[in-house]
Point group: C2
Chain length 466, copies 2
């Protein structure tokens, strides 16, 4: 379809102010946070109501125009990179918390609500929405659902999937589909919300989300433990779980990352440590006290050089500052950052960290590793310069080697960043061709014209993406 006609149609449908067509607008929405090739969309639209959203989807279906829905564009696997013959739909104006029900502990939201804003609104009611992806200050709940976003609290509190009670979404044809309920228990029909979660916008366009909430924990306690060797840190993680303590967060940083953080923030971290654990327990005050003491003792018993327990909110913030600045600190070192999220069963973390260090040596690339030790979700972060072709080829080799290592240890390619474009060619190594074929049958049945974020996730050698 001619671009001019498309833009005319969209303007007629939504009003001219909601259709962005200037080169700079299209460029702004041609990429996301993954290191993949940007693609200019034909146009960008910003619907302001759920009805307008549905109209755009129906229009795209009639005309066979690919559409990519975009929240904040923080995607780390290229899932929000549009199609060259398609449009981008922004959800930023669909940002209402439709209902926040403390009595029945659920909320109904539009997809454009920002994660952290939602968490704050919920907290005011004494309630808690645990999923906290790294990008929560800007990421949207719609994006979180489409990607099944994780965060620091996966071990104790699960991921986005565990909080989605129901959805309203538009099918490829633009028909409104309802699924799920405002209740924890609902088995009325297929669990379509379960299918849509993590499907990266390839099966429907989300217009409303029903989220489960839980009581806000009454108390929290944080601590930082420093280790002179990796194995002691790993043994500490295993010993904490073996003691049946499930921290709300149990984070890990390797020496390379610690050094980068120290250079970046001068936080006063000692230079002779190989690994750091950042731990927070939460819950009933007596439980928190008990668990914090247990964890501190375990850290010391496992050989921690130093354990720093935060005694107040200010000290707690200082503990987490190091973790929060990890990615920024690493990103300062080189022009291009490739942030991976290979995940292994937590007991395999020592092997996985070792494997990553070996891979860094073998491929002669710099890798800093930090992440969620509690749930086995590590973030090996490769520092490079995409313009250096020789180095980039080695980076690609290292990434593939990291995938292989995670799978060999019984893990997964992606814990929380999605498959998108970046990992699509590798998916078959984890789930097998059968699982991809099965998924493609679903995709074809639900999106016969292949307009819903085409080319993402379902890629097969020999037949490519669809």
């Amino acid at each position: 379809m001619a671009k001019r006609a498309l833009i005319g149609d969209l303007e007629a449908l939504l009003g001219a102010g909601k259709v962005l067509t200037e080169p700079e607008d299209r460029a702004a929405y041609s990429y996301d946070a993954a290191v993949v090739k940007p693609v200019l969309p034909l146009a960008v639209v910003r619907p302001e109501t759920e009805e307008e959203l549905g109209k755009v989807v129906a229009y795209c279906h009639r005309q066979g125009i690919p559409l990519t829905v975009r929240g904040a564009g923080t995607n780390l696997s290229g899932g929000t990179v549009p199609h060259e013959k398609g449009i981008v739909i922004l959800t930023g104006k669909l940002d209402k918390i439709v209902e926040l029900n403390p009595e029945d502990m659920y909320a109904v939201v539009q997809p454009g609500v920002i994660t952290a804003n939602f968490a704050k609104a919920v907290e005011k009611e004494g309630l808690f929405y645990p999923p906290d992806p790294g990008s929560q200050a800007v990421s949207t709940l719609g994006g979180n659902v489409a990607e099944n976003a994780g965060g620091l609290r996966g071990l104790k509190y699960g991921v986005t999937r565990d909080y989605v009670l129901g959805l309203e979404f538009f099918s490829a044809e633009g028909d409104l589909i309802r699924t799920g309920s405002r209740t924890v228990k609902c088995v009325s029909g297929y669990n379509l919300a379960g299918l849509l979660v993590g499907s990266e916008g390839t099966l429907g366009v989300i217009s409303r989300i029903i989220l489960r909430l839980i009581p806000y924990p009454a108390a929290k306690k944080s601590m930082m433990a420093l280790f002179s060797d990796l194995r002691s840190a790993s043994e500490t993680v295993a010993a904490i779980i073996a003691a049946r303590v499930i921290p709300a967060t149990l984070e890990f940083m390797d020496r390379f990352t610690i050094d980068a953080v120290e250079r970046f923030s001068r936080a006063g971290l000692p230079g002779d440590i190989e690994a750091m654990l950042l731990i927070e327990v939460d819950g009933h005050p007596a439980q928190v006290k008990d668990e914090a003491e247990k964890v501190e003792k375990i850290c010391r018993d496992c050989g921690a050089l130093k354990v720093r327990v935060a005694e107040n909110e200010e000290e707690r913030n200082r503990v987490w500052e190091a973790r929060r600045s990890a990615l920024s600190a690493l990103a300062k070192l080189r022009p291009t950052v490739v942030l991976e999220d290979a995940t292994v069963p937590r007991s395999k973390i020592p092997e996985m960290v070792q494997a990553i260090q070996d891979i860094a040596q073998e491929y002669k690339v710099q890798i800093g590793t930090f992440g969620h030790a509690g749930d086995g979700n590590l973030h090996p972060t490769i520092l490079t310069d995409r313009r250096n072709h020789d180095e980039w080829r080695r980076v690609e080799g290292a990434v593939e080697a990291i995938f292989e290592a995670a799978l060999k240890l019984g893990g997964t390619l992606s814990g929380e960043h999605g498959i998108g474009i970046a990992k699509a060619p590798f998916l078959h190594k984890e789930v097998g061709r059968g699982s991809i074929e099965y998924s493609r049958r679903i995709k074809r049945a639900l999106d016969s014209r292949n307009i819903l974020n085409p080319g993402k996730i379902l890629w097969l050698e020999g037949s490519g993406g669809e």
Copy 2:
């Protein structure tokens, strides 16, 4: 296909000992726990390995023979009633706990493992598998996954769906599909496990399940509170949640049920009470103490006539005896029991209980109501005699009226029993035709010959089931 040829083929495939064909065998597997018409299958097979299970599925696909997988047959919506031209596949011999990993807190099981046996095995490791459907002493984990089974702990601990990390299942063609992981975080490809959970055997035949485990709660405390009126009991439930206490179980029984229990077990319950709450809090000992005190105070403040706190395990058992015998006690009163599971947001329980009482009067039927007040999942239980045609018509009217009442209050037709055959004609009232059409497209794409438990869930007026 001729029955004799079918049996010959199955015997050749599995060995004669694994194929049951006698009329009494076929009759034994012609019905489940729902009040629906029994259907005799052509044959019943009992595969002993996952490989044999896959072979049977592939054979059925080649020959176009409908198959219904059956665990313990405790289904309450007719989901395990076979097709008249189909076979029943029993999972009883696929009962291995393949792996129980305390370090990484997951287990891998075959579908025929009995729920309570699994819970016990897990408990020995200091771990907890919370879903506890009423039939857990005989129900299987495969059935629990296929139905997304709930139980008493939904409010605090969620339902089966919340513990399924991954699946292996056979597609309609008999190809083995793997999905999910041994980690809490996994976004590699579509969440097929999420789609399969609660799909009642219509999309695949489950051969392995990866289940998430959590630490076993260190302490528990139970109590029973008696009320002279319904509203006080309901206000108590609301006040407990408003105090941000989330009990592990928060059960309700109405007067009719209490009377039946008293007649059945002579437990010494007073005769002048209208409602009873059974409450258990669990977790850290200090938290349990605090919460039990809070709950007791709330019960008294809301006007409980009597609160009995269990001081030891024996007293705790006595508290729960009344609840455990509720269904048996009601079932003794009349020849036929229709156990419903309409669910509403918990704040709507007073309206829902009132609506059920009004419906009992209007349709002149006996209804005892008990169930999971904490998560809004009530079990209105209609006592009748199916052979009495006039009364049965009134029962059918009452059931439909209960569905309407639940939906009007923002609830769902089925919290945990499934749609199956019994509720299929009503599903569209909850999710709309669009959602059913969308689901049928998935079903058609994945089961082109419609052999996987056909006729369940997806029924539309005008076009019937598929």
